[in-house]
Amino acid sequence: MTDSSLLRVRWIAGNTFVEALRQRFFAFLFLLAAGLAASGMLLRTFNFGQSELKFIADFGFGAMFLFGSILAIVMTVQLFFSELDNRTALTLLAKPVRRWEFVLGKFLGIWTLLGVFIALLGVVLAVMLSIRMPELVESASRNGEPLPFLNLKGLGMFCLLQWFRLGVVAALSLMICSFAQTFLYAVIVSAMGILLCQVQSAGVSAFSKPDQETWVRTLANGVGKVIPDLQLFDLGVPLVLSPAGAPQSAVLSALGYGALYMPVLLFITVFLFSDREI
């Protein structure tokens, strides 16, 4: 990668980021997600048998992935197709900008935006948990119950994991955009794909039991290896609320998995996009 390539990628990424940030959709989704994260404090009465911190944290974790995934899919598809529909991609690619630079720039712009989204939500969640923590500690020590545990560094690590997870989601959406013909098709297929990635480990586990036919088990294991497993990044509760934490090997493995999946998906995106007529 030459310096000029890097410059062009940075330029496209910067523009994509600013364009995405200006859109009301980002602000709208962030407010929704922050509202959901904050509502954990108000809905505590609906908590059954779990620790209160876990209840509040669950709202934040859920908001991060649900709204983050919506943002990653819709924003990626919209920014990609707006370039095609407005013919700006045609102008851009007529200049000495290679297609891989265009794809990489788009991805980095969106991934940066997702990083901002996750970081802001992480701050909201940290504030919510920190507000409740002293009162819960006091109440637990008064009643002789085990003291609640909160690890804000673990929350930072969880946010990093979610950023990588959403990176995979965005890269997958970009790959679908590279061959999709319409915005709606790309959004629907991306959403179905993410759902599949989210439930793949459950599906593999269900179809690879010993009572299944051998070919069913083989097929399930094969499909399980090919579809990205987004459940790997679900380490929120052990990282943030458990004194034992999550083992470093599991965290590094999930980070490595995300970090390697993104370039692979981008490579396939470039491969498919390279012969597309614009």
């Binding site: 059954f48 048998g49 876990k54 759902l195 790997l232 493995s253 390697l260 396939i268």
Partner: protein
Amino acid sequence: MKDSGIIWPWLRRRIIAVVMLCVAGCALSLVGQPAADWQRTHQPAFRSEELKGIVGQGVLLGMFGGLRSIMADMSWVRAYSYWEKRDRAGSESMMRLAIILDPGNIYFWINAANIIGYDQAHWEIAAREYGGRIKVQDSVKQTLYREYAENALKLLDDCIARFPDDSRAYIYAAQLTRNKLNNIPMEAEYYRRAAECKNRVWFAGRIYAMILGEDMGKPEEALEWYRDYYRRILADKRYENRPDLRQIFQENLEDLEERFSPVPVGDSKK
């Protein structure tokens, strides 16, 4: 010919992309293996046995990260609304959904089992079209009580398999066994397991010994078991700094000795 000349390169590119995706997926699954292994042993929510027949009940949405346990809570609230209407099918499906969504919460297991075991038989008896609870024959009532209690016990046994160190499920199972099945040996066995599990409660061992000695007519066996149990408690390091609890166990032993010891010769006047 012209068409095939266009389609083949298009198709070839897509086939190559799929092959690349498969190869990369296989290679990367090795990278993600440590995280996957840890998840499967420590996050039991996605074990296959909990995933039977639940598609279409909102569980897919529930699988989205942390929202899963929120959805479990909401399902439980919905189960309560059905419970108020005495809707057996509605409450049971919502309770089971809550358990599936958040199987790590013992509250759902125990309360669902209590509702099935204690309430639902009454609902069915009251709803019998030929007369409700007054006119329904006792034999039919007993059959229904037994049927629902057995369903509840199955749920509690699953709960025990998932939380073997928590004495609560054993205690509820023991109470249900006595109240609805009147199966004393089975009740005693649940209390024994509650007394011997990791997070035991102090009264479970005493109740087991009392049932064994009084209801089952084996006082010597009861006393021998409790003495051995007391020895194990004294050897347990967790009780080293709990003189209050050790005192309770000791008092229980003394009381059981008074009740179940054979009367010594010459002490019959006492």
